[in-house]
Symmetry: C2
Subunit: 465 residues, 2 copies
């Protein structure tokens, strides 16, 4: 793709438009040249930090007119390279859109700007007894706008759904600079095509989100947490589906392979967990609600299911501190695995019951191509994060041969009724695999939708397709 | 719009393609000339009843090539005229797509054809302990495919969400005849634009749905139902939001104005309800779950809220029979109001707490323009069905003046953060009001999406825009 390179004249336009919020210094550009995706690095030509919808609109109008490409950036915690400015141009950082605009307790809704950190939003709402459930592992630093753009999930999704299930309405600046609202602040809507749901998960390629209306729920007041060691990782996967069949919907149902915990423990030395030699995997199971007795009953049902499996002693978290420790451990796994080795992370998802087959598939492909993998993730959703470890693999295989192996995993995933990304998005690093998930016609439709929103293709080019 | 009129040559192609399932006889055409929308009537030129995806594809390929318009038809229970063949052409009836293909208990999913009656699907699933919650009043005759096309709701939506919250994946034949799957059979999906959600609620204008994958939940085993008479209809609306703020999410929270019940009682003479002179409205409140004790606790919380309002004696349904009677009464309201007079039904929706303002608005506009209205609906969702009664109004005002009044209601609805259809769709009869919900840019985007799917505009023309 051919975009206009930014000139001094462009820079002076941006400086005039955003006094003090236009950056072309190398150290600033450098900070916006990467997210959390592997070791990828692309330099933007300028970083702009607008703080109003009108400023976003003016920037996009100008860039549309001049053929300058624009990549919106949130908390830069993405795992698929969605914010990498692969063609240079403008990084539009949304960090100054950091206000929660209206907490509407009576309607269980919040209107927020996109640059609010997800955990800040959640904690603010919790003070009012309200809950916004989706909680990606990066919640301490990711932006709610990024969550909307990637349709983020997290551990609570198993009971409460993903980001798309909470977005009611969006203010969006189109790549041409026009400002729209995509829907209405209502729970039911049968008024034209669902532009709101089209924006959710569109990875910043269709428009820049400037306001978000989310529905909220009452915050649960109670929870119980248990950690279950399995001697057989396959059996742990099988137990997952059976828990749902028993009529319980846990608020968290996480799977961690042996190595996932072992590699993470050094980063969380206070965690009191014994991983025995014969422990192949752990399930972390949480139930939540408003009544302790009900939760106890649900735990009993879960225990009945687990009694049918060969597990070691189950750890019930005894205090709030221990609960937090266990969740911290789980949240840290991704980071720990990454610190351990060069890696590539795949975000596979299948129907829940097919999880054991997915795990077997990953291990079989690993054996065939000679790589190790560490698997963990949201088992209750059938969403398994597969971390392929570089270890002793040659650079040549890592850079060229591995994609054949990954394609083999994805083809198996699709055969199981699944797809290639559950919650991380396609971004830059998964787009080569899109034809496995969607043959030509669907991709053509998506491209046509992209053109309808962004006729010149200036917004976040090089992503998804 | 200019479409090719069907000739004998076209007919003989269709007859050859669908032996015995191609109808041009007047009495068949007549049966497909209307749905449940007012007294509207448009004759198709031919009715086709394919029974395989390949047949649907062949029909669309042919019609696309020859410029023949095609209107898909489901159970023909729509309330916005979505299946009316306003330009004649082909009615593609999906009634032969009536098989439930796969009930996947282990993954809590079902794959069904679109021509299955919603209640048949629900009952079949219930036998396995599974639930597909969305239950429009027409559930005894509407098709699940129509529900997907209109993003149907129903009373259970308040707790369980609407159709869009259950659709995982769709097999769709595009207007050009190409066959696609829109997504994957998974609970989390961040793989490209959400074509599944774009199809849901698109009212048969983007493609013909031939297979539907729905997620399911465990069927609740217990429920409690109460009917609460209010002396003040506004106060009934206010109570609705307070129930949610108390931390209870009822599985049904229905509002019926005085007249809605009075007009319906003659159709359900067995119902033992006394509507006193000073009863202005009733709330029908249901809670459901798996544990009687928990439900009793929830009812107590609801009673605490209601104690703050001036209500008459609350009726608790004492038997399954009485529960069914009360729900039957509620479901019958629409039909009863329609039998009572010529009417126009609007499907307004606002944020839940704004419901009293919406009711006041409807009555004020009625007073200004001199019409009576009967209001009822899904108060828990802020979704109020407004039935405007013709009564003594002149034909001239009814046919021309009334739209000004309706526009005034819709403008007020949008100011309250709401929109013009919660669950009935835009179809034919609401499209003139679309510019109130969406100014030009959004409509242009929707039109561009339509063109991307249907370049010649042959599929269900004259709807939404």
């Amino acid at each position: 793709m051919n975009f206009h390179k930014i000139t001094d004249r462009d820079l002076s336009y941006f400086e005039q438009l955003l006094p003090g919020n236009c950056f072309a210094q190398a150290e600033v550009l450098e900070a916006y040249a990467h997210d959390e995706t592997e070791d990828l690095h692309f330099m933007p030509e300028v970083v702009l930090k607008p703080s109003t919808t009108e400023e976003v609109s003016a920037i996009l109008k100008y860039c549309h007119e001049h053929g300058i490409c624009v990549t919106p950036a949130g908390g830069r915690t993405g795992l698929s390279g969605g914010m990498l400015p692969v063609f240079g141009g403008v990084i539009m950082s949304m960090e100054k859109f950091n206000r929660i605009l209206d907490i509407d307790e009576r309607n269980h809704q919040v209107t927020t700007e996109p640059g609010v950190i997800t955990q800040v939003l959640q904690n603010t709402l919790k003070e009012r007894g309200l809950m916004y459930p989706p909680d990606p592992s990066s919640k301490g630093s990711c932006f709610i706008g990024g969550n909307v753009s990637e349709n983020s999930g997290g551990p609570k999704a198993v009971k409460y759904g993903v980001t798309k299930d909470y977005v009611l309405n969006l203010e969006v600046v189109l790549p041409t600079g026009e400002i729209i609202w995509t829907g209405a602040n209502v729970l039911k809507n049968a008024t034209g095509y669902n532009l709101t749901q089209l924006m959710v998960g569109s990875e910043g390629t269709l428009g820049v989100i400037t306001k978000i209306v989310l529905r909220l729920i009452q915050h649960p007041t109670q929870d119980l947490l248990m950690l279950v060691p399995f001697f057989d990782a396959q059996k742990a996967c099988e137990a997952v589906a059976q828990i749902f069949q028993a009529g319980v919907t846990p608020s968290g149902l996480e799977f961690m392979e042996r190595d996932a915990i072992l590699w993470t423990l050094p980063y969380e030395p206070d965690t009191v967990i014994e991983v025995k030699d014969n422990h192949q995997a752990h399930l972390l199971i949480e139930v939540d609600g408003f009544d302790q007795e009900i939760l106890m009953k649900e735990c009993e049902k879960i225990m009945e299911v687990l009694a049918g499996f060969d597990t070691d002693e189950i750890l019930f978290a005894e205090s709030q501190a221990q609960k937090e420790q266990l969740w911290k451990l789980r949240r840290k796994v991704g980071e720990a695995v990454k610190s351990h080795s060069i890696y590539k992370e795949e975000d596979t998802v299948v129907p829940r019951y097919e999880l054991p087959k997915l795990l077997a598939l990953v291990k079989a492909v690993g054996k065939k191509y000679g790589f190790t993998s560490v698997c963990y993730g949201h088992a209750g959703d059938g969403n398994l994060h597969v971390n392929i470890i570089k270890g002793d693999l040659t650079d040549e295989f890592w850079n060229e041969g591995l994609s054949v192996a990954i394609a083999e995993i994805f083809e198996g995933v699709v055969k199981l009724g699944g797809t290639i990304s559950g919650e991380h998005g396609i971004g830059l690093v998964q787009r080569q695999y899109m034809p496995i998930a969607f043959p030509g016609v669907q991709l053509d439709l998506m491209r046509a939708i992209k053109r309808a929103f962004d006729p010149k293709g200036i917004l976040n080019p090089g992503k998804i397709f």
